[in-house]
Symmetry: C2
Subunit: 124 residues, 2 copies
Amino acid sequence: MSGLAAAAEAVLAANDAFYTALNAKDFGAMDALWAREVPVACVHPNWNALAGRECVMESWRAILDNPEQPRVFTGAAEAHLLDTVAYVLCRELVAGGALTATNVFTQEDGEWRLTLHHSSPVSV
Amino acid sequence: MSGLAAAAEAVLAANDAFYTALNAKDFGAMDALWAREVPVACVHPNWNALAGRECVMESWRAILDNPEQPRVFTGAAEAHLLDTVAYVLCRELVAGGALTATNVFTQEDGEWRLTLHHSSPVSV
C-alpha cells in the first residue's frame, strides 16, 4: 500500500472512531479524538459554530449524556489529504434525516485528531 | 506584527476576497481563490457535498450566473491556524436567513486558497 493510501486509510479509521465514540456515548473516547495542540471548532446541525476545546467538548458531553440522542448512521466517507491535515466528507443519517458532514483532521502524536466537525441537514 | 498575527490577517483577507468575488459575481476571481494542487470540496446550504474542482467550480458558475442570487453579508470571521492549513469560522446572512460557514484554506504559491467551504443554515 502506498504512503498516501495508508494515510487515507488512517484518516478514515479516525473518522470511523469518531462515529463509534458518538454511538457508544463514550465521552473519554470522544475527548481523546479531538486535537489538543491546535484550535478546534464544531458546527452541530442547525447550530452556530462552537469554537474552543472547552466549549466543543461541553457540547459533546451534553449530546452523549442525552438518553434520547439517536444513533448516527454514516457512510460514503471519502478522505482527502492536504499535508499534515486531511478532511473527510461523509453522509450521516440521524432519526431518518439526511445530513452531510465535513470532518477535518490534523496529525498529533502520530494520530489523526479532529480539529473541525461540521454537520448540516441535506434537503435539496 | 507577529508571524502568527500576519498569517491570520492574510487568511482573513482571503476569506474576504471569497465573499467579494461571490457578491461581485466574478467567476475569474472566484476560480483563482480555489486551490489547484490539493483536493477541493464544497457544501452549499442544504446541499450534499460536492467534491472535485470541476464540480465545485461548476456550482459556483451556476450561482454567480444566477441573476436572483442575493448578496451574502458576512461577519464575525475568526481565523484559526493549523500549519500550512487554516480555517475561518464566519457568519453569513443571505436574504434574511442566518448561516454559519467553515472555510478551510491551504497555502499555495504563497497564497491562502480555499480547499473546503461548508455553509449551513442556523435555526437553533
